[in-house]
């Protein structure tokens, strides 16, 4: 029976391993899921931030959990909610909030704001108005803006001067930008050795750039008030996509095909592209790596100056216990306070959503040294919400797949946008069946 005694011992050990010791009394433990969407040392900075929080808040023990990209963070959050163990707080891509709210996965923050003796208006009033659209759904607060961005035009100032252009007067309209791009494109026979401009197009970035171009062409990407409509087959978007297509095939100043964000920034840094449109989130990366003088400017307009915001908000998943909710709320308020907001902005390149951050002495000092960081903040005056619909990602992909075909010369803008609209309407159908088309 030696055999079975050993077996029993083995089973006992397996049992001991399977049930870890239960946690004792102590500070409320909360998990914070955070993504790292851009190049850089964000994970280390987040560690520093949370350590400081834990030192100053003995009754809460927060743990920062790295969860990959924005998309991965959504997956992991949803998996955790399904498993009945939601994280107390998540830094969530700002345009996923609506979809999560439709799926009943978010905690409504109104009562927490009221419990602090504040009002919705007062609470939201801390943040730039452009950011509120993605945080408020059906007049309730579901997210707190944490780090945000807008698209910018980056210009290689050295190359501009070489081409006889004045980088202190960057192009303001599409016509001027086209002209600049032509002058900045260098050819060696049929071969292009330097491209005038690069605009990224990969899943996620492509939709954001389409929204950027459409908005500066006077249009809207989606219905800001209702998650069941997108406006793909419209003159403003047709103009936007046709211009992008023309930059490639008519003016030949933009690489053919769809180019992902990192390829665009590498191309700019290496001098292969003289201008690029990219997120403010890449500003720190460009500042650290460019071996030439560069200049950032507003996205040029065709009809009006307007850009979408990007970035992320802090959210609380639904189904949290009361003590965790309270602890997470403390953490969220601390992280979005002017001082911390400003600190995070200087570390990452995102702008600080809390307006008071720009009045702190550290921030005034920083902007004095890095005037390029100011452009993103100034552009906020004309910024609008990021598209968010029912099933944001598939609806966005419906457009992106067609745009990629156009950029590769396989489809004309008009038919591509009609196809995108048809596909998106199909994706949105179940939601409309339940809302706008559910009639008495």
């Amino acid at each position: 029976m030696l055999f079975s005694r050993r077996l029993m011992l083995g089973l006992a050990m397996a049992g001991a391993l399977a049930f870890p010791a239960l946690a004792g009394e102590g500070p409320t433990e909360v998990d914070l899921f955070f993504p790292v969407p851009v190049d850089g040392k964000l994970a280390r900075d987040m560690g520093t931030l949370i350590k400081e929080f834990n030192e100053t808040h003995p009754d809460v023990k927060a743990t920062a959990v790295y969860t990959g990209s924005y998309d991965d963070t959504l997956i992991k959050t949803r998996a955790a909610i399904k498993a009945g163990k939601p994280p107390a707080a998540v830094i969530m891509s700002a345009n996923f909030l609506l979809d999560m709210q439709i799926e009943n996965e978010l905690t409504n923050l109104d009562s927490l704001i009221a419990a602090d003796g504040s009002t919705k208006e007062k609470f939201l009033g801390q943040f730039f108005p452009a950011l509120q659209g993605n945080a408020v759904i059906n007049r309730s607060v579901y997210g707190v803006p944490f780090h945000n961005s807008t698209p910018l035009l980056y210009i290689n100032a050295d190359k501009a001067k070489e081409a006889g252009l004045d980088p202190s007067k960057p192009p303001q309209t599409w016509a001027e930008l086209t002209d600049w791009a032509k002058k900045l494109t260098k050819r060696d026979g049929d071969k292009v050795t330097q491209w005038g401009i690069a605009i990224p197009c990969a899943y996620d970035y492509c939709g954001w750039m389409m929204e950027t171009l459409t908005m500066s062409n006077g249009g809207r990407y989606y219905n800001e008030e209702f998650g069941g409509e997108v406006y793909y087959d419209t003159p403003s978007m047709l103009g936007a996509l046709t211009w992008w297509n023309d930059l490639i095939y008519k003016h030949k100043v933009h690489t053919p095909g769809a180019t992902p964000g990192p390829a665009v920034s590498t191309s700019f840094i290496s001098g292969n592209a003289a201008m690029m449109m990219l997120s403010t989130g890449s500003l720190t990366y460009v500042r650290d790596n460019a071996k030439f003088a560069y200049k950032v400017a507003f996205i040029p307009r065709n009809v009006r100056n307007a850009v979408p915001i990007g970035g992320a908000s802090l959210i609380m998943p639904a189904g949290l216990e009361a003590d965790k909710q309270k602890a997470a709320w403390t953490l969220i308020k601390w992280m979005t306070s002017p001082e911390k907001s400003g600190w995070w902005s200087r570390a990452t390149g995102y702008f600080a959503p809390n307006m008071a951050a720009y009045k702190t002495p550290e921030m005034v000092d920083f902007l004095g040294k890095n005037p390029d960081a100011k452009t993103a903040v100034e552009q906020l005056d004309v910024a609008k919400p990021w598209f968010a619909t029912y099933k944001t990602v598939p609806v966005r992909k419906n457009l992106e797949d067609e745009v990629m075909l156009v950029l590769n010369g396989k489809k004309q803008p008009k038919e591509a946008l009609a196809a995108a609209q048809k596909a998106a309407d199909e994706t949105l159908k179940p939601y409309n069946a339940e809302t706008s088309l559910k009639l008495p």
């Binding site: 055999f3 397996a14 439709i102 690489t255 590498t266 990629m404 590769n408 069946a433 339940e434």
Partner: protein, 316 residues
């Protein structure tokens, strides 16, 4: 048994052997009880994390919600027919077939070539074997990140050298006509060294005396390859083909890292389609249905291959 004697005989004698069988079974079971007990921990974990999950997929594939707020309801095979009717799925299947053939054939051919060239062990061949095996040691995700930079349009390593020769540089991952082939190159690069190992092992099993006899009979290198080595390697071929096909369906790390299925779904493979349904569309029913279809296809393929293999092994 003749037709004149109907079922009488079996009925009369059936009781005793059955009892006998039961006894024998019990006896065997008792004898192997410790073995089952030893297997129990693994069985428990397999049940929890493998069979449990598979069972869940079966169940999930049968349910769907009509609208976002509606409760899930039983829909039977509707999810499966929805998946089959989805052009994105059929596109992914087509891509996956091209990908499977386009990666399995070249990587197996290369692997055989490498194995034949390096079958004798000496210092140089050992070093070369190690070099060819190196890509296997690099995780697919890391390799994809590396190739992301090699494939960068205009400024990447590949374009830097090819750029001197071509007037228009290909946008390797941004052009729907090329992207799938770019992805295939990585898979071939990564797997050829791995399959080489199997062929090296297979070559060790080629009987030395037969080779010698053939040599004495005046068979040249080609004759020996054609009539001795290749027939002897048949089981290895089958095994490697099965592995390569499975890899073509189960490895999508590079798609995930490099293209996300794009541009315009040109590199969307079946497993990535399942991921998209589950995560982006948040449609667990359709994702489960697609998983079931893939599982069925894979199991059918594997069963077929191993049966062929068993037949050849067992046959004269």
């Amino acid at each position: 048994m003749s037709l004149a004697e109907p079922a009488a005989l079996p009925v009369a004698t059936s009781a005793a052997p059955r009892l006998h069988l039961l006894k024998r079974f019990m006896g065997r079971f008792r004898a192997s009880l410790p073995a089952y007990l030893l297997l129990l921990p693994s069985l428990v974990f397999l049940a929890l994390f493998t069979y449990g999950a598979m069972g869940r997929v079966f169940v999930d594939a049968l349910y769907q919600r009509a609208t976002p707020k509606a409760p899930v309801r039983f829909v039977g095979l509707d999810n499966i027919s929805a998946v089959l009717a989805d052009p994105a799925f059929t596109g992914a299947v087509t891509n996956n077939l091209i990908y499977a053939v386009g990666t399995a054939v070249p990587s197996i051919a290369l692997a055989l070539l490498f194995a034949l060239a390096l079958s004798r062990t000496h210092a140089v061949s050992s070093a070369l074997r190690a070099a060819l095996f190196l890509p296997v040691l690099i995780p697919m995700v890391a390799a994809s990140a590396l190739f992301l930079f090699i494939f960068l349009p205009n400024v990447g390593l590949l374009d830097y050298y090819i750029g001197r020769l071509l007037p228009v540089l290909p946008n390797w991952l941004g052009d729907p006509d090329i992207a799938l082939y770019a992805i295939m190159i990585i898979t071939i690069w990564k797997n050829a060294g791995y399959y080489m190992l199997f062929f090296l092992a297979g070559l060790q099993a080629v009987p030395e005396d037969v080779m010698e006899a053939a040599h004495l009979d005046g068979a040249g290198p080609y004759m020996r390859l054609r009539h001795i080595i290749l027939p002897e390697l048949k089981p290895t071929f089958l095994f490697v083909t099965v592995i390569a096909t499975l890899n073509a369906v189960t490895q999508v790390d590079h798609v995930f890292v490099m293209t996300q299925g794009g541009p315009s779904n040109a590199t969307n493979l079946v497993l990535f389609y399942i991921y998209q349904q589950a995560v982006e569309h948040y449609d667990i029913g359709k994702a489960s249905a697609a998983t079931l279809l893939t599982l069925a296809a894979l199991m059918g393929l594997t069963a077929l291959s191993f049966r062929t293999m068993a037949n050849r092994e067992g046959g004269p």
